[in-house]
C-alpha cells in the first residue's frame, strides 16, 4: 500500500470537516456527526501508518518549497506516529464527551467551539508529522490561534483575560522559536529533524550554544509549561472542560513537550546536549517545576486549577526524562507522553462531569459525591492513583523507566525528586477522594444521579485504558516498542 500521502490526509481531514461543521450550525446532531466522522477517519489514517512506523520506516512527503532550500515537509517517523495516535485517538473520546458536556452545560456558540476544535486537531497532527522546524513552527502557530477561541469561549472578563494571557505567552514563545530556527538555519543550513541532531561538527562557542538552546526552550517551553513559563495554563482553565481535557492535558501541552524532545533529540542531539551542559539547564528547570508545581497544587481549591498544576508538574517528568540523556530515561519520558494523557484526560473529564451534573467546581464542596456519581469517582480514583505512580497503573511504568534511566546515568537527585513528587501527588489527590467517599454529602446532592453516558463512557474508557497500559504497555499500538525504537534512533544515529 502506498502510504506517501496518508500523513497529509491525516492532517487535512479535520480541516476539511470545518466547512461542514460551520454549514450545519443549525443542526447540532449533523454538526457533531461531522466531528465524529472526521475523528474516526483521522484515527484510522494514523493507524494505517503504525505498521510501517513500527518497522522504523519514515514516510516523507515534500509538499512544496516554501522558502529556498526550506521545503514544507510532512514526515511520519515513529515519534510522529506515536504522538498522532494519542492525539487523534483521544479526540474521538473527547468529541463524544464534548457533546454531553456542551449540551448539558447549555454552552453558547457551539459551532465555533467544534470548528476550532477541529482546526486544533489538524494543527496537532501537523506538529506530530512536521519533518522540519519550519513546518513545525507553522503548525505550532496555527495551534496557538485555533486554541484562542476555545480559551475565551465563555467571553466573560475572566475568559478574555485568560485569552490575552494565553496569547501573550504563546505568541512570544513562537517568536523565540522563530529566532532560534533562524539562527540554527544560518549556522547549519538546514532545519530538518534528524535523529541525533543537525549541528554535527559545526564549530559552536559555548555561549552561542546556550543562547540558541535557551531560545528554543523559550519557544517550546511555554506550551510545555516549564516554570517560569507556566502561568498561562492555570488561567486557561477558564475554557470549557473538554478543552482543558484534550488541549491542556494532551494536544497543546504535549505539543510543547513533543517539541522539547524534538529539540533535544533531533536538533541538538544527546552528544551536543552533554558537551555544552545543556541537559543540566533542562534538568534543573524540570526538577524545580516538578516540586514547585506539586506544592502549588495543594493551594488550589478549584478542582480544574489543581489539575492544571498537576499537569505542569507531570509535563516536567517528560522534560526531565529527556534531560537525563539516557536511553531508558528517554523511553520513560516518551511513554509518559501517552500515559499521562490517558490519566489526566480522565481526571479532567471527571471534573467536567461533576461540574455539569452537580454544578460544583471547588474541592471543598465535593463531600459525598461518590454516592451519586460512583462511576465518575471510580475513574477519578484510578486516574489520580496513576499520576501518583502506584502500580499496576500506567503512571508507574513510565516513572519506573524514568527512575532507572536516572540511575543508569549515575544520578540520584532525579530519583529523589520523582519519589517526593509521587508523595506530593498522593497528598493533593487523596483529600479529594477522601471527601468524595468518606464525608457525608449535603442535601443538595439529593435527586442527582450519575452524569450523562456521553460523559461517563469516555471517562471510564480512559480510566480503563490507564489500567490496561499499566498491565501491559504494549497492549495496544505497541507504545513501548515505539518508545524504545525512538530512543534508540536518537542515541544510535545511523
Amino acid at each position: 500500500m502506498d502510504l506517501t500521502y496518508i500523513p497529509l490526509y491525516a492532517v487535512l481531514v479535520s480541516l476539511a470537516a470545518v466547512p461542514f461543521i460551520l454549514l450545519s450550525s443549525k443542526k447540532p446532531n449533523l454538526r457533531e456527526f461531522w466531528t465524529i466522522l472526521a475523528g474516526v477517519i483521522k484515527f484510522l489514517l494514523v493507524l494505517a501508518l503504525l505498521p510501517s512506523a513500527l518497522q522504523g520506516n519514515v514516510i516523507e512527503l515534500e509538499l512544496l518549497e516554501i522558502a529556498p532550500n526550506l521545503p514544507l515537509v510532512l514526515k511520519a517517523d515513529t515519534f510522529g506516529v506515536f504522538f498522532a495516535i494519542i492525539a487523534s485517538g483521544l479526540w474521538i473520546l473527547t468529541s463524544f464527551y464534548s457533546i454531553g458536556y456542551m449540551r448539558g452545560h447549555h454552552e453558547k456558540k457551539q459551532t465555533r467551539y467544534f470548528a476550532s476544535f477541529a482546526i486544533c486537531l489538524s494543527s496537532t497532527i501537523g506538529i506530530a508529522f512536521s519533518g522540519n522546524l519550519l513546518t513545525f513552527i507553522i503548525f505550532y502557530e496555527m495551534l496557538t490561534l485555533a486554541t484562542y477561541p476555545l480559551v475565551i469561549h465563555s467571553e466573560t472578563k475572566k475568559g478574555i483575560a485568560a485569552g490575552r494571557k494565553y496569547l501573550s505567552y504563546t505568541l512570544s514563545a513562537g517568536l523565540l522559536l522563530i529566532a532560534a530556527a533562524a539562527i540554527t538555519y544560518s549556522i547549519t543550513g538546514t532545519l530538518e529533524f534528524v535523529p541525533g541532531g543537525i549541528f554535527g561538527d559545526t564549530d559552536l562557542s559555548n555561549s552561542m550554544a546556550v543562547v540558541i538552546f535557551l531560545l528554543f526552550l523559550g519557544g517550546v517551553g511555554v506550551k510545555a509549561g516549564i516554570m517560569p513559563l507556566h502561568s498561562w495554563l492555570p488561567s486557561a482553565m477558564a475554557a470549557p472542560t473538554p478543552v482543558s481535557a484534550l488541549l491542556h492535558a494532551v494536544a497543546v501541552v504535549k505539543s510543547g513537550v513533543f517539541g522539547v524532545i524534538r529539540v533535544v533529540g533531533f536538533i541538538f542531539g544527546p552528544e551536543m546536549m552533554a558537551e555544552f551542559g545543556l541537559n543540566e539547564i533542562l534538568m534543573v528547570l524540570a526538577g524545580i517545576t516538578i516540586i514547585v508545581a506539586s506544592l502549588l497544587a495543594f493551594a488550589q481549591d478549584n478542582l480544574k486549577r489543581r489539575l492544571a498544576y498537576s499537569t505542569i508538574g507531570q509535563l516536567s517528568y517528560i522534560v526531565l526524562g529527556a534531560a537525563l540523556l539516557t536511553e531508558t530515561g528517554l523511553i520513560g519520558s516518551i511513554m509518559h507522553i501517552s500515559f499521562h494523557a490517558t490519566m489526566k484526560i480522565t481526571l479532567f473529564f471527571c471534573a467536567g462531569a461533576i461540574m455539569v451534573n452537580l454544578h460544583k467546581k471547588n474541592i471543598s464542596d465535593m463531600n459525598g459525591i461518590a454516592r451519586v456519581m460512583p462511576w465518575t469517582m471510580a475513574a477519578f480514583t484510578i486516574g489520580s492513583m496513576g499520576l501518583a505512580g502506584i502500580p499496576p497503573l500506567n503512571g508507574f511504568v513510565s516513572k519506573w523507566y524514568l527512575a532507572s534511566g536516572a540511575l543508569e546515568g549515575g544520578m540520584i537527585l532525579p530519583v529523589i525528586i520523582l519519589v517526593i513528587s509521587g508523595l506530593l501527588n498522593v497528598g493533593y489527590f487523596f483529600p479529594i477522594i477522601h471527601r468524595a467517599y468518606f464525608r457525608k454529602g449535603g442535601p443538595e446532592l439529593e435527586g442527582h444521579t450519575e452524569a450523562s453516558p456521553f460523559m461517563v463512557v469516555p471517562l471510564f474508557s480512559t480510566a480503563v485504558l490507564s489500567i490496561l497500559f499499566g498491565l501491559n504497555p504494549d497492549l495496544f499500538f505497541n507504545f513501548f516498542d515505539m518508545a524504545t525504537s525512538i530512543a534508540s534512533s536518537i542515541f544510535n544515529p545511523l
Binding site: 512544496l64 518549497e65 516554501i66 522558502a67 529556498p68 526550506l70 453558547k108 519550519l134 513552527i137 507553522i138 502557530e141 496557538t144 490561534l145 477561541p149 475565551i152 467571553e155 466573560t156 472578563k157 475568559g159 478574555i160 485569552g163 490575552r164 496569547l167 501573550s168 505568541l171 512570544s172 513562537g174 517568536l175 523565540l176 522563530i178 529566532a179 533562524a182 539562527i183 538555519y185 544560518s186
Partner: protein, 497 residues
C-alpha cells in the same frame, strides 16, 4: 517588439489618462471612475507583461527617450527590481481605485473629476520615479508625485488641508535637499545618469561634496519615505485624507521613496564604497530600528483606526529600510518581499477602515463592537487575515519577509535588530488583537445583550469586497508560494552581493 517599449508605455498610459479623464469627464462625469480603472488596469497589464517578459529573457531593458543615448539623453532602466516595484504599485492602485467607487460618493462628492485626474498624475510620478535612470529626471517625477499627493490628501476631512499643507512644507524641504545632493554630484562627476555616475563615483569618492551629497539625498528621500525621525508629516496626512487617498498613498508612496533609497545607496554608490567613508548603513539601521519600535508603540496608543494604521506604516517602512541597512542578500530579499507584502497588507487594512467608515460613519476603535462580525463577516475576515499577516504568523506573507530579515540580521550578527523584529511583532499583535477582540467577542462590561438584538447582515458591495478579497487571498498565496518570488528577487541583487 512591443516588449522593449514597456518602460515608456506605462508612464505614457498615465499621461494619456490624465488628459482623457478631464476631457471626457467634462462631457460625461459619471464615467471618470471607469476611466481611472481603465488607466490603472492598462498600466497593470503592461507591468505584468513587462515583468513576465523580463523573467523570460532575463535582460534589462534600457529605453532611450527620443533615441538620445545617455548620458546626453534620458533613459528609463527597466531591470528586475524596477519591473517588480512597478507591477506592485500599479496592481495595488488598480485594486484601490476599484474600491473607491462608493467611497467617492460619500467622501468627496462632486470632486471626482479632479480626484481621478490627480490620481493618474500621482501614479505617473511614482512610476516615473521607479523607472527613470536619471537623477534629475527622478526629481521631476518626485515633485509630480508629491504635488499630486498634497492635492489628494487635502481632499478629505476638515483637517485634511492643514495636514496636507504641513506635508507640503516638509515634503518640499525634503525634495530640495535631494535636489541639492544631485547638484553636488553633478558638479563633481558631470553626469546625471545613474549607471554612468556609478562608474565614476569610485574616482571621486574622497571628495567632501560627494559625502555631503549622499547625506543630503538620504535625508531628502528619507522625508518622503517617512524614515524615523523624518516621519512627522505622515500620521496626520494619512488620518485626515479621504479613505481612498490613504489607501492609495500609504501602501505605495513611502515604498517608492524607500526604493529610491535602495537605488541611491545600493546601486548608485554601492555599500562598499560608502561604508569606507561613513558608517551610513549602520546609522540608517539604527534609525530604522528605533522607527520600528516607535511606530508600533504609537500605534498601540491610538484609538482611531486610520491613525493607528498610519503609525503602523512608520513602523513597517522601518523594516524595509532595515533590510537595506543590512546590506546582505537576505536583508535585500526581506526588504523587497516586504515592499510587496506591506503594500498588500496596508492597502487592505486601509480599505477595511474605509469600508467601516462608509458603513458606520467613523473608524473609532473604541466604538467597535461584536455586531460587526455579523454585519460584515467577509470584511472582518479580510481584516483578520491582514492582521495575522502583520503580526507575522506563518504561513501568511508577513511571516516570510520577517523571516528573511531575521536571517539577514543573523548574517551580520546584528542581535539588536533581530530583537527589534521580534519585539515589534509582539507589539503588532497587541494593537491588532485588541481590535479582533472587540469585533469577535462580547463586551464583558455590558450586560449580555446576546440573542436579544438581531443584527442584519449589511456586507459591503462587490466593488469594495472584490479588492479586499483579492488582497486577502493574495497574502495567503504570496506566503505559501513566496519561494517563487524570492527566486525572482535573486536576480535583482545589486552588484557586489
Amino acid at each position: 517588439m512591443i516588449g522593449s517599449e514597456i518602460p515608456a508605455l506605462i508612464p505614457v498610459t498615465y499621461i494619456l489618462f490624465a488628459i482623457l479623464i478631464p476631457v471626457i469627464g467634462l462631457w460625461k462625469r459619471e464615467i471618470t471612475w471607469h476611466l481611472s480603472l481603465l488607466g490603472t488596469g492598462t498600466a497593470t497589464f503592461f507591468s505584468a507583461w513587462g515583468f513576465m517578459h523580463l523573467i523570460q529573457t532575463g535582460e534589462t531593458i534600457r529605453y532611450f527617450f527620443g533615441g538620445w543615448a545617455p548620458p546626453i539623453g534620458i533613459e528609463f532602466v527597466y531591470d528586475g527590481l524596477a519591473a517588480f516595484i512597478v507591477l506592485v504599485i500599479n496592481a495595488i492602485a488598480f485594486l484601490v481605485l476599484i474600491h473607491s467607487k462608493e467611497i467617492s460618493k460619500v467622501e468627496f462628492p462632486g470632486k471626482k473629476l479632479a480626484y481621478y485626474t490627480v490620481s493618474m498624475l500621482l501614479m505617473l510620478g511614482f512610476n516615473g520615479m521607479v523607472l527613470t535612470g536619471d537623477l534629475f529626471n527622478l526629481y521631476v517625477f518626485l515633485e509630480i508625485s508629491s504635488l499630486s499627493s498634497y492635492a489628494l490628501i487635502a481632499i478629505g476631512e476638515k483637517r485634511a488641508p492643514y495636514a496636507a499643507f504641513r506635508y507640503l512644507i516638509i515634503g518640499t524641504v525634503g525634495g530640495s535637499l535631494y535636489l541639492l545632493g544631485v547638484g553636488f554630484l553633478y558638479t563633481v562627476t558631470g553626469t546625471l545618469n545613474i549607471i554612468d555616475m556609478h562608474v565614476m563615483l569610485p574616482q571621486v569618492i574622497g571628495h567632501s561634496s560627494v559625502i555631503a551629497a549622499l547625506i543630503l539625498m538620504i535625508i531628502g528621500v528619507g522625508v518622503k519615505a517617512a524614515l524615523f525621525p523624518l516621519h512627522g508629516w505622515l500620521p496626520d496626512s494619512y488620518t485626515f485624507a479621504s479613505s481612498t487617498s490613504s489607501a492609495l498613498i500609504a501602501p505605495i508612496g513611502t515604498k517608492v521613496a524607500a526604493y529610491i533609497l535602495f537605488r541611491v545607496v545600493l546601486f548608485l554608490f554601492g555599500v562598499e564604497l560608502i561604508d569606507h567613508q561613513l558608517p551610513v548603513t549602520t546609522i540608517i539601521g539604527i534609525f530604522a530600528g528605533i522607527g520600528i519600535l516607535y511606530g508600533s508603540i504609537m500605534a498601540i496608543a491610538q484609538s482611531e483606526m486610520k491613525k493607528m494604521l498610519a503609525y503602523s506604516s512608520v513602523s513597517q517602512i522601518g523594516y524595509i529600510i532595515m533590510g537595506l541597512s543590512l546590506a546582505n542578500p537576505f536583508g535585500f530579499i526581506g526588504a523587497v518581499l516586504h515592499i510587496l507584502n506591506h503594500a498588500m497588507m496596508k492597502a487592505l487594512l486601509f480599505l477595511v477602515s474605509g469600508s467601516i467608515r462608509l458603513k458606520e460613519g467613523h473608524s473609532l476603535i473604541t466604538k467597535f463592537d461584536n455586531s460587526y462580525r455579523k454585519k460584515y463577516p467577509w470584511t472582518m475576515a479580510a481584516f483578520t487575515t491582514a492582521a495575522i499577516s502583520m503580526v507575522g504568523l506563518p504561513p501568511l506573507a508577513g511571516f516570510f519577509s520577517k523571516w528573511y530579515l531575521a536571517l539577514g540580521t543573523i548574517d551580520n550578527s546584528n542581535w539588536l535588530l533581530l530583537a527589534v523584529i521580534l519585539i515589534s511583532s509582539l507589539l503588532n499583535a497587541v494593537y491588532f488583537f485588541r481590535i479582533l477582540e472587540k469585533i469577535y467577542l462580547n463586551n464583558p462590561d455590558t450586560e449580555s445583550t446576546e440573542e436579544t438584538e438581531v443584527v442584519e447582515r449589511d456586507e459591503v458591495g462587490f466593488t469594495m469586497m472584490f479588492p479586499m478579497a483579492v488582497m486577502a487571498i493574495g497574502l495567503l498565496l504570496v506566503g505559501i508560494f513566496n519561494a517563487y518570488i524570492v527566486n525572482v528577487i535573486f536576480n535583482m541583487f545589486p552588484a557586489g552581493f
